[in-house]
Amino acid sequence: MTSITLENNDYKKEIKQKTAKPLLWIGLMSIVMFFAGLTSAVIVSKGTAVWETIQIPSAFAISTVFILLSSLTFYIGERSLKNNQLTKGKLFILATLLLGLLFTVTQYIAWTDLYKNGVVWAGSESSATGSYFYALTALHLLHLLGGLISLLVVNIKSIKEKYNTENLLGVQLSSTYWHFLTALWVYLYLFLIFIA
């Protein structure tokens, strides 16, 4: 008779298969609330504080294109792995990582543009409007760093051919998080246009 114990690896694996995705989804809920808090703070501030007009740097638009593309490549990469097209999968997942890095670079460029236009983060020259611009984008980027790390892991594992039709959980978790970051960015970008 084999009794099920926690030390049993099959059992552990089964629990992980069952719970990893819901854990991620509820984690995403909390991130949604975090940004809901921040963006509703912007709306409250807009009603009460002195509000400035800000020229949105075009680099943010380019960022948006990059991150949308990266979601597309991740989607294709994941589907390829699912259909056991390992080489195609590897390439598209690598492309996702590169696009993610390009997004990060364009965010930095956007900040320098903001700074050149006299929008500063803090100090006597700063305004709440400008500070929100930096805070919202930087906090999104902070979450994106987590996504990049997970993409790095997924890339290494896919190069080692650890993923296939049967074993995709890691890719699925990473891609769910990545698509979420894309959606979050699109929301924030539209929101920035709205508040500027």
Partner: protein, 594 residues
């Protein structure tokens, strides 16, 4: 050979007691840490009660506990503010959020739904250790230069945003914010696990409508936590930016010592919005687990099915939903548009409906029951009492027209201590007395428990009931002394009385501490199901094993409240006045709760 053996034992100890991933051990870690913090919070309150009851008098106790904070045994005014702030913070977050949810969600969720452990034992362990680190940082903040945070547990800017504002606004405030950020991470990790475990790992037959009400309460509490704590984190982050980087989210046109500061364009009201969007759900994060525990104990100890199971679940959900749309009732005096105030008044008063449903159901469950007055049952009934008497004054404070008159007076202090503080701590005590045999395999002493309950409830009402009268007379909260105002001279006697009750109540808790540790080590061994209860945790063996049940996980066939069930002849079904959830339904038997 023996060296490696020794090494193994050391490792076992480390992973069994310190870095355990077993939910039962993590639950004990939360309990002990939470109670330790609660004890510190209680000592603080007793000390500042001494100052309020006997303003300016010298006490050896103040001298002993506070040392340099109290010259010649008299508490310094700024230290009074620090103590009030830390008392609130510790009690609300460390004892009644992490201590209560951390202990009972961890202990009961896997055991009552029939799971071997939480969804992720690792995240669960992290949750405790984040909590532990935040505890340590909060305690360290007591000893730093300038003292601990002193802006009140609600840390409103500008006091909290400008390091030079008051002594406690310096390093103490910074550490407070760091500690709370880590605390929020801990709370989120815990909540994630609780929700996913309940939704995904229930045993066969454990449908949502067969869940014990404890589990429903823990589930909704965790959902509230996931929705509201991130908002507090966003508020705290903006505050940190203002404090440490010079942004102006909450600050505008501020002068300190005749100097105008650089900040401009922000609004401190914004912080209040963000804070209370967490702050009000937080009340229910504290309260709901206690209500869940009470449901379970009231039913078991009345030997009757819980009255209105579905109504109980619906009320929990309704309370949770309403709790996120009422935060404005904390802000009626911020210059809020009176129409908006009326909206918040309306949503706030609506909470009375599901709350009344719950109270009604507790009382109808008790009605004509074969009540067993165990200490756990007494504390549960105590909770019903405080939930009523604290709830009624909530109607007064929820109404903007009335609230404006007594805003920030002792009426508010009396109200929330009874409805949230006492109810939650009574629920926690009830839970400890009831599930002690499950946690430690031994029974607590009933007689000491009775003394603990009766002294506590009498003194608790003695402390908080008179505060309503102080508040109605206009005595403001958070003042260092009320003896400077001739207006309040005739209130000094009441303050003295309150302090005496507080001292006795504090000493009565030593009974509990003794009972707890003595029983954990020397108490009589518990049988597997000492309360003859139905829920699944009592089908697991007394000895803890990682995985909870030695063989297969039990299958569930009925709800958890089949007490005193009789057949058509008037005899007990099964020959006992309880039927465990694992017993299959008889041929003509209907499942309860539907």
């Amino acid at each position: 050979m023996s060296a490696t053996h020794h090494h193994h034992e050391e490792q076992d100890f480390l992973f069994k007691y310190i870095f355990s991933q077993d939910h039962k051990m993590i639950s004990k870690q939360f309990l002990i840490t939470g109670f330790l913090m609660g004890f510190i919070g209680m000592v603080m309150s007793t000390l500042f009660r001494l100052q309020l009851g006997f303003p300016g008098e010298s006490f050896w106790a103040i001298d002993f506990f506070l040392g340099s904070w109290a010259e010649n045994g008299v508490m310094a005014p700024d230290k009074y503010l620090a103590l009030v702030t830390m008392h609130g913070t510790i009690m609300v977050f460390f004892l009644l959020t992490a201590g209560l949810s951390g202990t009972f969600s961890n202990l009961l969720i896997p055991l009552q739904i029939g799971a071997r452990d939480m969804a992720s034992g690792f995240l669960n362990m992290l949750s405790y250790w984040f909590f532990f680190v935040s505890t340590i940082i909060m305690l360290i903040s007591l000893g730093v230069e300038g003292g601990a945070a002193s802006a009140g547990w609600t840390i409103y800017p500008p006091l909290s945003a400008l390091p030079q504002a008051i002594p406690g606004s310096g390093l103490g405030m910074t550490l407070w914010l760091i500690s709370m950020a880590i605390f929020i991470a801990s709370s989120l990790l815990g909540s994630l696990n609780y929700i996913v475990t309940i939704l995904n790992l229930r045993t066969k037959g454990m449908t949502m409508t067969r869940l014990p009400l404890t589990i429903w309460a823990f589930l909704v509490t965790a959902i509230l936590g996931v929705l509201s704590f991130p908002v507090l984190l966003s508020a705290a982050l903006l505050l940190i930016f203002d404090r440490s980087f010079g942004t102006s989210f909450y600050l505008s046109d501020i002068y300190i010592g005749g100097q105008v500061l650089e900040h401009s364009g922000g609004s401190p009201i914004l912080f209040e919005h963000l804070f209370w969007f967490l702050g009000h759900p937080e009340v229910y994060i504290v309260l709901l687990p206690a209500l869940g525990i009470t449901s379970e104990i009231v039913s078991t100890m009345s030997r009757k099915p819980i009255f209105g199971y579905r109504a109980m679940v619906t009320s929990i959900l309704a309370i949770a939903f309403l709790s996120v749309i009422v935060w404005g009732h904390h802000m009626f005096v911020t210059g809020m548009n009176p129409f908006l105030g009326a909206v918040f008044t309306f949503t706030t008063l609506l909470i009375a409906i599901p709350s009344a449903v719950k109270v009604f159901n507790y009382i109808t469950t008790l009605w004509k029951g074969n009540i067993i007055f165990s200490p756990a049952m007494l504390f549960s009934i105590g909770l019903v009492s405080t939930f009523i008497s604290g709830g009624v004054t909530g109607l007064i404070l929820g109404d903007s027209a009335l609230d404006i008159n007594i805003h920030d007076t002792y009426f508010v202090v009396g109200h929330f201590h009874i409805v949230m503080g006492l109810s939650a701590i009574f629920g926690m005590f009830a839970g400890v007395y009831h599930w002690f045999p499950k946690m430690f395999g031994r029974m607590m002493n009933n007689t000491i428990g009775f003394f603990h309950f009766w002294i506590t409830i009498v003194c608790a009402y003695g402390v908080f009931f008179p505060m309503h009268f102080l508040g109605l007379a206009g005595v403001p909260r958070r003042y260092y002394t009320n003896s400077e105002f001739p207006l309040f001279d005739n209130m000094l006697d009441i303050n003295e009385l309150i302090t005496w009750f507080a001292i006795v109540a504090a000493f009565a808790q030593l009974l509990f501490v003794f009972n707890f540790f003595y029983s954990a080590l020397r108490g009589p061994r518990a049988s597997q199901n000492p309360w003859r209860a139905n829920s699944l945790e009592w089908t697991a063996p007394v000895e803890h094993i990682h995985g909870n049940w030695p063989g297969e996980i039990p299958e569930v066939h009925r709800w958890a409240y089949d007490y005193s069930k009789v057949d058509e002849n008037g005899d007990y079904v099964n020959g006992e006045d309880f039927i465990s959830q694992v017993v299959p339904l008889g041929p003509n038997e209907k499942d309860g709760g539907h």
